[in-house]
C-alpha cells in the first residue's frame, strides 16, 4: 500500500440516540480511499446505525459526516454518491435482474445503449450475464447477493456500504463470497465499508477494522494488530479465542510486564511499546499493585509432557481434561490449579506432543513473554 492515503469519508464526533439508548457515542473515524474497511462489533454496538448515518438514513444528533472533505450531514440519501448493499439484499421483486441493476443508472438519466452496456458490464463483473431476464425470486441466495452487489457497484459510488453482506449465506458460500468481495474491491478500486458481527469475516476481508463497543471504537487497526495486540480485555475477548489470567501487576519494565496470579505465581507478558504505534500498556496507568490481566492465544501456548529442565517463566502444570480434534489441529483443555477456567491450547495434530497426549495426562504449559499480552483494567 502506498503512503498516499486520501480520506474518503470522515466522521467527526457523531452521536445518535434512540430514546434513552445512545447507539453511537461521540465517534470519530476516517476511512481511506480504496480501502476495505470493516465495522465489527456485537449486536447493538452501533455499527449499523453508523452505516445508516453514512448512507443518510439516520441523521446524527451531533457531529458531522464529511465525504471528500465536503459536509454531507444534511444531504439526502438519494443525493449522496454512496450506495448500500442491504442485508436482505432488498432487490425489487417486480423487476428482472437487468431491471434491478439498471434502476440506479436510470435515476441518473443514463439511457439507451450506454445503459445497456453498463448494466451488462456490471452483470459480467459478478458473473450473472446469463441471468439478466430472471426475476429475483428465481435466483439462489448467492446469486441474489451478486445482483445486489452489481446494482450498487454499477453506479460507481465513492463508497460502497455493505450491511452484513454474508450473514444470509451458508458457510461454504460465505468463504467463496469473501474472496469475491475482495476481488471486486480490488478490480473496481471503490472503497468498501462492511458491517459485520463475525470477527472471522472481518479478519479475512478487511484492510482495517474498527471494533465497536457501546457506540464507541474499542480499537482501530489492521486485523493483525487487533488479533495480536488487543488494546483491552473486550477486544481480546471478542476477537478469536483467548486465555485470561487475572492478577496484580508486580512490575512493568522494558517491554515486559509481570503479574502475580493467585495460586499460579508470577506470569510474564508483553507490555507493548516495543516498536509499533501502541505505546505501553493499554488501559489505565501501569501502577504496580493495580489489577491487570494476562491474555494469551491458544496457539501460543506450548505443551510438553516432561517438566522443563530449567525454571522458565510462564510454566504451569495441569491435567488434560479434554482433547478436541479439529482436523489440522487439536484443541486441548488443561485443568490448572485453583479451580479456574481450563487453559486452552491449540497445537498441530501431527506434532510429537499431540501423538502422546491423552486425557488425564499431566502436562506442562508455557509461553514466551512476547506472545502474551498484559492488559490493565
Amino acid at each position: 500500500m502506498t503512503s498516499e492515503t486520501k480520506t474518503v469519508v470522515e466522521i467527526v464526533g457523531a452521536t445518535k440516540r434512540f430514546g434513552a439508548v445512545t447507539a453511537v457515542d461521540d465517534l470519530s473515524l476516517a476511512i481511506r480511499e480504496n480501502e476495505f474497511f470493516a465495522l465489527l462489533g456485537p449486536s447493538g454496538c452501533g455499527k449499523t446505525t453508523l452505516l445508516r448515518m453514512i448512507a443518510g438514513f439516520e441523521r446524527p444528533d451531533a457531529g458531522r459526516i464529511l465525504l471528500d472533505g465536503r459536509d454531507i450531514t444534511d444531504l439526502r440519501p438519494n443525493r449522496r454518491p454512496i450506495n448500500m448493499m442491504f442485508q436482505s439484499y432488498a432487490l425489487f421483486p417486480h423487476l428482472s435482474v437487468h431491471g434491478n441493476v439498471a434502476y440506479g443508472l436510470e435515476m441518473e438519466g443514463v439511457r439507451g445503449a450506454e445503459l445497456k452496456r453498463r448494466v451488462e458490464e456490471a452483470l459480467a463483473m459478478v458473473r450473472l450475464e446469463d441471468f439478466a431476464r430472471r426475476r429475483p425470486h428465481l435466483l439462489s441466495g448467492g446469486q441474489r447477493q451478486r445482483v445486489a452487489l452489481a446494482r450498487a457497484l454499477v453506479k460507481r459510488p465513492r463508497l460502497l456500504l455493505l450491511d452484513e453482506p454474508l450473514a444470509a449465506l451458508d458457510k461454504k458460500l460465505r468463504t467463496q463470497m469473501q474472496l469475491e468481495l475482495k476481488r471486486l474491491q480490488h478490480e473496481t478500486g471503490i472503497t468498501f465499508l462492511v458491517v459485520t458481527h463475525d470477527q472471522e469475516e472481518a479478519l479475512a476481508m478487511a484492510d482495517r477494522i474498527a471494533l465497536l463497543n457501546a457506540g464507541r471504537i474499542a480499537q482501530l487497526g489492521t486485523p493483525r494488530a487487533l488479533y495480536e495486540r488487543p488494546a483491552s480485555r473486550f477486544v481480546a475477548d471478542f476477537i478469536g479465542v483467548m486465555n485470561f489470567f487475572e492478577g496484580r501487576l508486580t512490575s512493568a519494565a522494558a517491554g515486559v510486564a509481570e503479574i502475580e496470579v493467585e495460586g499460579l505465581g508470577r506470569l510474564r507478558g508483553d507490555a507493548g511499546g516495543s516498536g509499533g504505534s501502541d505505546g505501553g500498556l493499554p488501559g489505565s496507568a501501569p501502577v504496580v499493585g493495580a489489577a491487570a490481566t494476562l491474555a494469551v492465544r491458544p496457539e501460543r501456548v506450548r505443551l510438553s509432557l516432561e517438566p522443563p529442565q530449567e525454571s522458565l517463566p510462564n510454566g504451569l502444570s495441569g491435567v488434560v481434561l479434554d482433547i478436541t480434534y479439529l482436523g489440522q489441529d487439536l484443541m486441548v483443555h488443561v485443568g490448572l490449579a485453583g479451580g479456574r477456567a481450563p487453559l486452552i491450547a491449540r497445537l498441530g495434530a501431527g506434532s510429537e506432543v499431540a501423538a502422546a497426549l491423552a486425557e488425564g495426562a499431566v502436562v506442562w504449559c508455557r509461553w514466551a513473554a512476547e506472545d502474551a499480552r498484559i492488559l490493565m483494567e
Binding site: N78, M84, F92, H94, Y103, R151, K155
Partner: protein, 258 residues
Amino acid sequence: MRAGRRWLVGHLGLVYLFLYGPILVLVALSFNKSGLPTAWSGFSLEWYGRMLRNQAIIASVGNTLIVAAASTLIATTLGTLLALGLDRLRPGPLLEGFVFVPMIIPDIVLAIALLSFFTLIGMTLGLHSIILAHAVFNIAFVCAVVRTRLRHFDRSIIEASIDLGASEFTTFRRVTLPAIFPGVLAGALLAFTLSVDEFIIAYFTSGAGRASTTFPMQIYAMIRFGVTPEINAVATIVLGFSFLLILLSQRLNRDATP
C-alpha cells in the same frame, strides 16, 4: 383407514351439495322453456332474451355498474393509502381495529347510520350517496387486503430505491406501488364484487326516486310479484360474473406471494 376416508369423501359431497344444490337448480331453471319451477320442458334462452328487453333491469344494471366503479375507485385509492399509512405509523391495536369496523358491523346498522348522517348534513340522496356509502365499507376491505400484502413486503426496498438515487415520489411510483399492485388489484376486485350485490345499504341511501335503483334493488322489487324465470336468468348472469371476479382476485393474491 379406508372406511374413514370414505366417510370424509361422503361428508365433503354432502357439504358441497348443501352449498351448491340450490344454485344449480336456479341455473337449470333459468334455461327452462316453460317457466314453471315444477317441470322441465326443454332448453331455451327465452328468459335471457326477455331480461335483455326489460328496460328497468337494464337501467338498474347501468346504475349498479356506475356505483360499483366509482365506489371501487374511491375505496381503492383511499384504502391503499390507509394501508400504507398504517404500515408506516403502526398505531395501537385499538386505532387499527377501528379501521376495520365497517367490515364487521351489521349492514343494517351501517345503512341506518349513513342515512341519518346524510340527512343530518342535508345531502340529497341518489346514486352519489350510494357511491359514498359503498366506499365507506369498501375502504376497510381494500385496506385489509393491501395490509396482508404489505406484511410480506420488505420495506428495505424503499430505502434501496432512495439509496439508488430515486426521489420519494419516484420510489412510490416505480417500486412501492408495483410491488403491492397485485394486492391493490385484488382489493379493487373484492370491492367491486361487494358493491355489485350490496342491497341493504343501497336501499337505505338511494332516496325515493326510481332513477337511482340499483340492480339488487330492482330484483327485490320484481320478486315481490313472485320468482319469474327472468329473475333466474338475471341471477345466473350475476352468479357467473361474481364467480369470475372472485377467482381472478384469488389468483392475483396467490401469484403475488412469491
